[in-house]
Amino acid sequence: MSTDSGLGLQSASRQGREPTSLRLILTLSLAGLLSGIIIVSVYEATLPTITAYQARMLREAVFQVLPRVTQSQRLVWRDGTLIAKDAEEKGEAAVFGGYDAGGNLVGYAIPSAGPGFQDTITLLYGYLPGSRKIVGMEVLDSRETPGLGDKIYKDAAFVGEFKDLAVDPEVRAVKRGTGSAANEVDAITGATISSKAVVRIINEGNARWLPRLDAGG
């Protein structure tokens, strides 16, 4: 018996007692059945914790990038308007509306992703439509080099740059100490590429969402 027939049937067994195809099919089906049951049980058992954790993390991220926010709502863009929708659907991008205690819209948390130094960087940033400013940024996922590229989320000064950042005209990354207009971010020395990547990802997010938010908000 071989692995190239890993999941299948092979020639006459050595004992000469060849089980019928039916028996094989039955065994596999049975194994599948059992495994399905086990998996689904574990899934059901862990699901509440997991979803709760994920929701909490997401909420925390949103609160992180949008100050003074106490609730958030997932929003998708459909037929020219933003509508609230909790369930995820493939290929459908979403932003998160952030609301204060009074239920008033404070701003949006916008997820965006793009290539960094090593691999894709995924981040979330907070945007205030009224003042057209970015008020916070958090990197959700990245594989940038420890000690260098990871400063885009470990370096407080760099993250701080995104606490009050104008989006008009485009956000720009500049060398530290060379001027600091409202739309300029000081790049991290030694990780210029990652810094610029963050800025570019934000600009891409802006390009995708700002017109919609301004229109549908």
Partner: protein, 216 residues
């Protein structure tokens, strides 16, 4: 079917050193290298593998009579994949931070050659007790190897061990250690160390044997 004298202690101990899945058999290299940039990750991966290996070995050896030879492997794969899914969700629920670190590598336990190999070469041929003991030995051996690699990489690459700061603030971490090349290089050097130790032991044993002959 090879019929060796089943000696529980031997079966257990062999996985630790002599037949260590990583150092001696060079199996399961991918998870080994991918997640060992810190000792904690190594422990977590080792633990997850431990669970899957022991549980699968138990199940396989207890079901071996009912599984037709022809669909043996398919069934093993289904069993292993089931346990991997179980540990995947459990980790996600219980230790979400670590799960995030290990990321995509938990599912890859399914294809860790060591696990399937053990089912094929041991669990399916031995009694439940022996199979579990063997699995325990192998799993501990694997865990040990992961921990060794993870520790070296974390200590040099980050100046910490299991998160504890070891050298003070002025330590210059060797970033390469936590990058892919560091994994390859460290494991290569560890293997070298292992074979050096193994050879030394063997030489010692030979010398002892000689002395015994001469002494009689």
């Amino acid at each position: 079917m090879p019929t060796s004298k089943p000696d529980a202690y031997q079966e257990f101990i062999k996985g630790l050193w002599r037949d260590n899945p990583v150092f001696a058999q060079v199996l399961g290299m991918c998870p080994m290298l991918a997640v060992t940039n810190s000792a904690v990750n190594a422990l977590a991966m080792g633990g997850a593998t431990f669970f899957v290996l022991v549980a699968s070995s138990f199940l396989v050896s207890s079901l071996k009579r009912w599984i037709p030879k022809q669909v043996r492997i398919s069934t093993y794969v289904i069993i292993i994949a089931t346990f991997v899914t179980v540990i995947d969700y459990s980790l996600q629920a219980l230790l979400p931070a670590i799960h995030k670190e290990l990321g995509a590598f938990i599912p890859l336990i399914v294809v860790n050659c060591m696990i399937l190999g053990r089912q094929e070469s041991f669990a399916s041929r031995h009694s439940i007790g022996l199979a579990v003991i063997d699995a325990l030995g192998m799993a501990v051996g694997f865990l040990f190897a992961l921990l060794a690699l993870g520790s070296v990489r974390e200590i040099l690459g980050n100046g910490t061990w299991l998160g504890l700061d070891l050298f003070g603030p002025n330590f210059e971490p060797w970033v390469i250690m936590v990058l892919p090349p560091g994994g390859f290089l460290t494991l290569g050097l560890l293997l070298l160390l292992f074979s050096w130790l193994a050879e030394r032991r063997q030489k010692l044993a030979e010398r002892l044997a000689e002395m015994e002959v001469e002494g009689t």
